[in-house]
Amino acid sequence: MAYDKFTILTSSAVPMPIENVDTDQIIPARFLKATERTGFGDNLFRDWRYNTDGTPKQDFVLNNSIYSGKILVAGRNFGSGSSREHAAWAIYDYGFRCVVSSFFADIFKNNSLNIGILPVQVSAEFLDKIFTAIEADPNAQVEINLPSQKITILATGESESFDINTYKKLNMTNGYDDIDYLQAMKGEIETFAAKSMY
C-alpha cells in the first residue's frame, strides 16, 4: 500500500518510557479479526488505554491531552513479540509517523518501514534527553530529518544522527515500497526460480 513520502518531520512527541513494549500491548490479538486495513488506531494500546468498561484510563499517556504529536518516544526493545503488521498499522492509523527508541525488535522495524513509519534508533543517553525535554515542556518540538539522517530536540539544539540503509531511505523519501521494486525484476526472479530444487 502506498504511503505518504517522508522527508522532514517536526512535531511534539508523546513519551512512553516503558521497556519491552510488545506487539500484544500495541494491538491485542482480539482486535486482529478484520479483513481490511482500517480502524486499528482506535484500539492502539487498547488495554493500557481503556478500562474494561471502555472508559479511558486517565493515567495513560494517550489519554493525557497535554501530550500530542506525530512522534512516539518509547523505552528500549519496542515492538517485540508477534509479527503482526497490525501493530504498525495501528500506530500509523492513530497518526504517528515516527517511533523513537533506543532499540527496536527486528520484525517491527521491517513492518514499520514497509508501511511508512520511520523507526529512529537513538542512544540510551539521547533517549533520556528527549524524555527530559518533554518533561520540561510537553510541547517540545523534535525534528526528524530523514535526508540528513538526523534527529534534533529543537528547544535545546541537541541532536544525534541515526542509521537507515540507502535503499529504505530512498523508498521512504519517495513513498515507494518493496512490491514496486520486486515487480520490476520479475524476469530475474523467474530465471532464479527455474533453478531452485524446491
Binding site: 519491552n20 488495554d47 517485540s80 520484525i107 512490491i179 525484476m185 526472479i189
Partner: protein, 469 residues
Amino acid sequence: MSQMPATLFDKVWDSHVVRKIEDGPDVFFIDRHFIHEVTSPVAFLGLESRKLGVMFPEKTFATADHNTPTINQHLPVKDALSANQLKALETNSAKYGISHWGLGNPKNGIVHVVGPENGITLPGMTIVCGDSHTSTHGAFGAIAFGIGTSEVEMVLSSQCIMQPKPKKMRVQVNGKLGKGVTPKDVTLYVISKLTAAGATGYFVEYAGEVFENMSMEGRMTVCNMSIEMGARGGIIAPDETTFAYIKGREKAPKGEAWDKALAYWKTLKTDAGAKYDMEHVYDAADIEPMITYGTNPGMGMGISQHIPQAKETGGSASSYGKSLDYMGFHEEDAMLGKKVDYVFIGSCTNGRIEDFRAFASIVKGRKKAEHITAWIVPGSHIVEAQIKEEGILDILTEAGFELRQPGCSACLAMNDDKVPAGKYAVSTSNRNFEGRQGPGSRTMLASPLVAAAAAVTGVVTDPRLLMAD
C-alpha cells in the same frame, strides 16, 4: 582453491539471494510460504488493488488455526468476524489455486505443526509465514522466519522478500540434561540468560550435544522460541534424526528424488573454522525445570529458585516493578507453591505428540486438581489421532481431563479460550505478555511436565517430585 569456511546459515542464505542491493537488503527467494486467516486477508486485498496475481501458488500453503474454536468444530463458527476471516482464507486460496487445509480438513492444525508433519518443511529451504513462530521450521536446517503482511503480499506476488542478512550467533549447550529437564526448559534457560532482546539482529544456530541428542519435536520447541530472545530465527543442522523424521511423510521427496535430496541435505553443516558474530556456551547440568515469573519470556528462572531483585536483572527497575505488579508477585518470592487456576498445554511450541506423552507421564494414576481449568489442545488432527491411538486420551480422561480440538487456542486467545483477568495460568505456549491469554490474564510459561505437575497439584510444583526415578 579452497573456499572460505561457511556456516550452515550462510550456505542456505547465500543460495537464495536473487540480487544483492548495495547498502540495502538482499532480494531473497522463498521456497515455502505458509498463510493463515489472520495475517493474509489484507495481503490479498493489496494484490487486488495493484492488479497482481500469485506467482507460484504451488509454493504457498494455507491453514486455518489462529481464530478457530477448539470445541464443536463441525458447527458454523459463531463469532462473525472470525468466520469472516476463515471464509476469506478459503475464498482467496480457491481464487488463486493455493492448497487450503481449512477447519474440518483432516490435515488441519497449527501452521507450524502441520508443515513438518506433512513433509512440506525440508532441510535447506527458505520458509516464511505471517507469524513470528515460523522460526519453528529451523529445526530441519531451513531458514525460517516470521514476516509482516506487506511481505506476505510480496511473496504472493513475486516469491521474494527484501531482507538484510542477519548477523550470526551460535548457542551451544553441552553435556546431558538432568531428570525432568525438557527442550522447553533449555530454551527458557537460554532466553533467561540472553534476555528477551538479547539476540535481536541475529540468526541463531543451536549446536552441541544437547541438540544433537534431541528429538525433532524438541528441536522444533527450541527453534520456535528463538524469536522470544529477539532472534530472527533459529537453525539446527539436519542429521540422521532429521532424515528419519522426514522419510515417508506425504510431501517429502520419494525414490530417486529422495536420494538426490539426501545427498544435498548432508552438505548442510557448518564448516570447521567458520565464524560467528557472537557465541554463547552453556552447560546442560546448570539447567533445571524452568518457569517464568514476569511479562516477557526472558523473565524465567529455575523452578526451585526465588524471583530475582530488580538490581540483579540489569534492566529498568520501573519496568521490572510494573511487570511484577501485573503478575501480583514480589522480588524474592518462591515460585513453588504459588496457586494456579488454569493449565494450557498446546501451541506450536508444545503441542506435538511428545508433549502430550510427557504430560500424560505425570498425570497417569493421578487426578486433576479440583479448582484447575485445563485446556488440552493438540497442535493438529494428526497429533489428536496419535493421542487417541497411543492410549493417552484414556489416561487423560481417567484423571479428569478433556481433550479439545486442534488450533492456536489460548496461546493468543483470539477464540473463546481466554484466561479471565487476574487468574494464573501455567502454559506451555511461548508468550507471557500482559493480556496475551486474555485481558488481565497472568501467564507462567513452562514445559509440559511442569504444566502437568501444576494440573494435578493445583500449585506450581517441581515435576521431578512426581516422576519415577
